[in-house]
Symmetry: C2
Amino acid sequence: MLQYSRDNMAELLRAHDINPTHQRIEIAYALFSRQEHLSADQVMTIVNDRHAETSKATVYNTLNLFLEKGLIREVIVDPSKVFYDPNTGPHHHLYEVDSGQLTDIDADDVRIEGLPALPKGMETVGIDLIVRVKRTA
Amino acid sequence: MLQYSRDNMAELLRAHDINPTHQRIEIAYALFSRQEHLSADQVMTIVNDRHAETSKATVYNTLNLFLEKGLIREVIVDPSKVFYDPNTGPHHHLYEVDSGQLTDIDADDVRIEGLPALPKGMETVGIDLIVRVKRTA
DNA sequence: TCTAGGATTTGGACTCTGTCTAACTCCCGG
DNA sequence: CCGGGAGTTAGACAGAGTCCAAATCCTAGA
Ligand SMILES: [Mn+2]
Ligand SMILES: [Mn+2]
Ligand SMILES: [Zn+2]
Ligand SMILES: [Zn+2]
């Protein structure tokens, strides 16, 4: 997908079994066209920037729907809010604690070894690696 | 430290430049005697179990003070609440997403390789590795 | 022992993220 | 041109965490 348009957002949604509505397309477009990690609040602001038309409830409903359907991923690094990530491929995160800036780290280059065997009857849902950094004093 | 008592909590606090008050000792004792990952709310419940004497404000003040002074660590795995960890040594976490159960993974056995160089002027604050698991379907 | 003053604690108001609900709107198939 | 299910909405609500000004505690002098 070379460029993100509202039209291919609709296709993307259908491909994930999501009925593409106006609001859902706008929210998907906000995330995918920027390829950034956004909080619900930021999504809300972006989507309602020109003309308010999407409610808080719909933003949350939609983000949770996207999560369920595997269209996006959530990143939990900040105790005060969740970030939503349009990149669902395996990757890790660099978190700048002061600014809140969140950057992807490609998983191809990173090797994690020596993890203990999982407890019986458990399966891995995901492995999150977060490198927390700050500006040097 | 073979066994945790309120007395050696006072020493521990002093060693971290924290004036040991009754409330601070109780809160430290809750965390260190159990060696568990506790939420602020759980700390509050434990500390006030027999006889209510510590306010919510003090629980949060104290946990944040302990964090600042490096006595404890926070673990961010659940979007709805922070866990406080008396183990400040390098280690990772196994998180059981359904129950909320949080377990330590010794860092000695785990190798993380191939992380990219940090951006200029940045230094690492910490590396968090979280293995999210769930009960097999 | 008494006391002033800084440190600590406190209740409760407040903020913020996120959820819930019941009513409303939209849209499509017949 | 309906009827009805899917989607959206405003606003109430819940829970974690912060803030504040007042009350309390504790200790270093006198
Ligand atoms: Mn629009
Ligand atoms: Mn007590
Ligand atoms: Zn990412
Ligand atoms: Zn731990």
